[in-house]
Symmetry: C2
Subunit: 362 residues, 2 copies
């Protein structure tokens, strides 16, 4: 069994602080469950690299990284040094697109010991998965300006959807729904307002749904869908959405469970032609960086998603990957119930203390 090759990119700010805790738990869980890893760290995709080289990544980044199974990513962004759009489009968004990580998976769960903003909810009440298309749609640099600088100025922004891109994310989401006990899927749309792309999305949902007769599905306009995340989050199981809608819904979901600072994400290239990327949903948080107080749970939870995905590779051990995933999530839950907590959760523990506690609970 060859080891899985993992590229480690801590990035900026609290990325570099939560990464050691992520690695601590990752290595331990992988060893326990017989999943051999080979880790290699890179000091790319950070403001330092930008200062030294005037770019976020070296020229040969693609060739260097493409042979890896996964990228374990911290957080990128240091706006005092590099404008956000430069650092993001120069690293994270480039990985997602060039490595065709088209399926962005973002679990939303109410966790024990976490006080969410919604009244009267118990752990177990909220447990759904946002599946976001991650390469096309509204995130596009296509378009331009006309009559620039004048009163007549106008701006066109293209959203680009392809049959290839839409069908594969829908199939991926339906397959995930099929594997879950409730087997339900909700597709976000806005076909009553956005007149070309969203009716197309609706059409494709209907076509792909026919391939999964055992999944119960519906379509909801994104405005009311967002409202229902707040009003009836129990109703959701798998939610599939375009790039933009998925972005909004996958911040809103964790906000509803009070876990925005703890939410993990998997940016998958399900074909495994390219590495998949695992990262916290949170950013580099320059405001609290350098103090060792960041919550490492999102980074650790992202390691769980990684082991689950790696285990499912052809010839690998899917049960071991799943067991490692479940063990990490259980350890997180145990520490949230009784262990040390960082400041964002009302505690006084350091990033490292929480990481060590989760490793010990494993």
């Amino acid at each position: 069994n060859r080891p899985f090759r993992i590229a480690v990119l801590p990035g900026d700010g609290i990325g570099t602080e939560v990464m050691p805790e992520g690695l601590r738990v990752l290595k331990l869980a992988a060893a326990r469950h017989g999943l051999p890893l080979e880790l290699q760290a890179f000091d790319w995709a950070c403001a330092d690299h930008w200062l030294r080289h005037g770019r976020m990544l070296p020229e040969d980044w693609f060739e260097t990284l493409r042979g890896f199974d996964a990228i374990y990513f911290g957080a990128v962004g240091w706006p005092a040094v590099v404008p956000d759009h430069v650092s993001l489009w120069g690293s994270l968004l480039k990985f997602r697109r060039d490595f065709d990580q088209y399926a962005n998976l973002r679990p939303v769960r109410l966790l024990p010991g976490v006080r969410g903003p919604l009244a009267g909810k118990q752990p177990g009440d909220i447990d759904f998965l946002v599946v976001r298309e991650n390469t096309e749609g509204e995130y596009s640099s296509v378009g331009g300006r006309m009559f620039e600088g004048s009163e007549r100025e106008l701006v066109l922004q293209e959203a680009v959807f392809t049959r290839h891109g839409v069908d594969r994310i829908l199939r991926h989401a339906f397959r995930l729904a099929q594997q879950r006990p409730r087997k339900r899927l909700t597709a976000a749309t806005k076909s009553n307002g956005i007149a070309i792309s969203m009716p197309y999305w609706d059409e494709r949902v209907e076509a792909i749904a026919a391939e999964f007769p055992d999944v119960q599905w519906d379509r909801q306009h994104v405005d009311i869908l967002a409202a229902r995340f707040v009003l009836q989050p129990e109703r959701f199981d798998v939610v599939v959405a375009s790039n933009l809608f998925g972005d909004i819904l996958s911040d809103l979901g964790p906000a509803c469970t009070g876990t925005l600072g703890m939410a993990p994400s998997a940016n998958l290239n399900p074909d495994r032609r390219y590495p998949s990327l695992f990262e916290p949903v949170h950013g580099s948080a320059p405001d609290i960086a350098g103090q060792g107080i960041a919550n490492p749970i999102a980074q650790i939870w992202s390691a769980a998603l990684m082991l689950d995905f790696l285990g499912q590779a052809p010839g690998a051990d899917a049960a071991a990957g799943r067991a490692a995933h479940d063990a990490i999530v259980a350890a997180i839950e145990q520490v949230l119930r009784t262990g040390p907590r960082t400041r964002d959760l009302g505690g006084h523990a350091s990033t490292r203390e929480v990481g060590e506690a989760i490793a010990a609970a494993l």
Copy 2:
């Protein structure tokens, strides 16, 4: 003083049930505050009209309505008879665009006696205004398909922003912020992902902000902004957003206060060249139509917004309009505290009973 001319279009479903209660309170408040009204009802913009004429509006709708000061609208949509995109683009969305109702105002308030989904909030804690651009941006029928029906199929959807359209909604929002005690404004953006239109929006926000040095403003990406509606709704005062972002945020806001079924909206043509339109945010709700149990508060609250706007017309009595607005909102609050309630609020009262109670509380 010539009377204000109001076109009344109840529409479909519960629209026809809440409208009489809206009119009851509207007429009473207008009379009390010396705002003369002339009302004229139209049986357009409903499934019945569609069945009889094969279109939502008669050919001369524009000429007929354009001389009115306001349109008092119920709700449109009866999907069993007319597809939603046909009824919406054939009436409501047509009014918004052809009558250049570019400013969509949607107040978000935590009301007494209403149990919202957020834990530990008190009336007064949440009180902000979503100002939505209502004519351009992402709501566009521009674009198309290529390689139709094949595996190579692709769809382009244009979002169209103009300097004219962006600047005027921003100015309108900044002016509204200026009139509020907190004088704060947040502009929704997504310039870290949507690479052409949103950086433009950011630029214009910065340019227009310079005209309003007394307003404190910031920009927030729509994903985190949506999350903060749930986590820290107290922080918001005026939120200005593009058509799509405004659509999402103005459903999410009222969801956070538990008032989604009670939320009003004003679709303003601030220049008063064309009529402005006032309507509930809720739809025609075919599932509960015909039973007389719909909550009429959104329709009644929309009348308050209308009187406020009418009062501000040149030569009219702005103080009277404002007083009528405040009186209606106070009457709604009083009935929510102690009066009859419809089923959605856990009561057993009919639409009419609630309308009568609010009229009596006036």
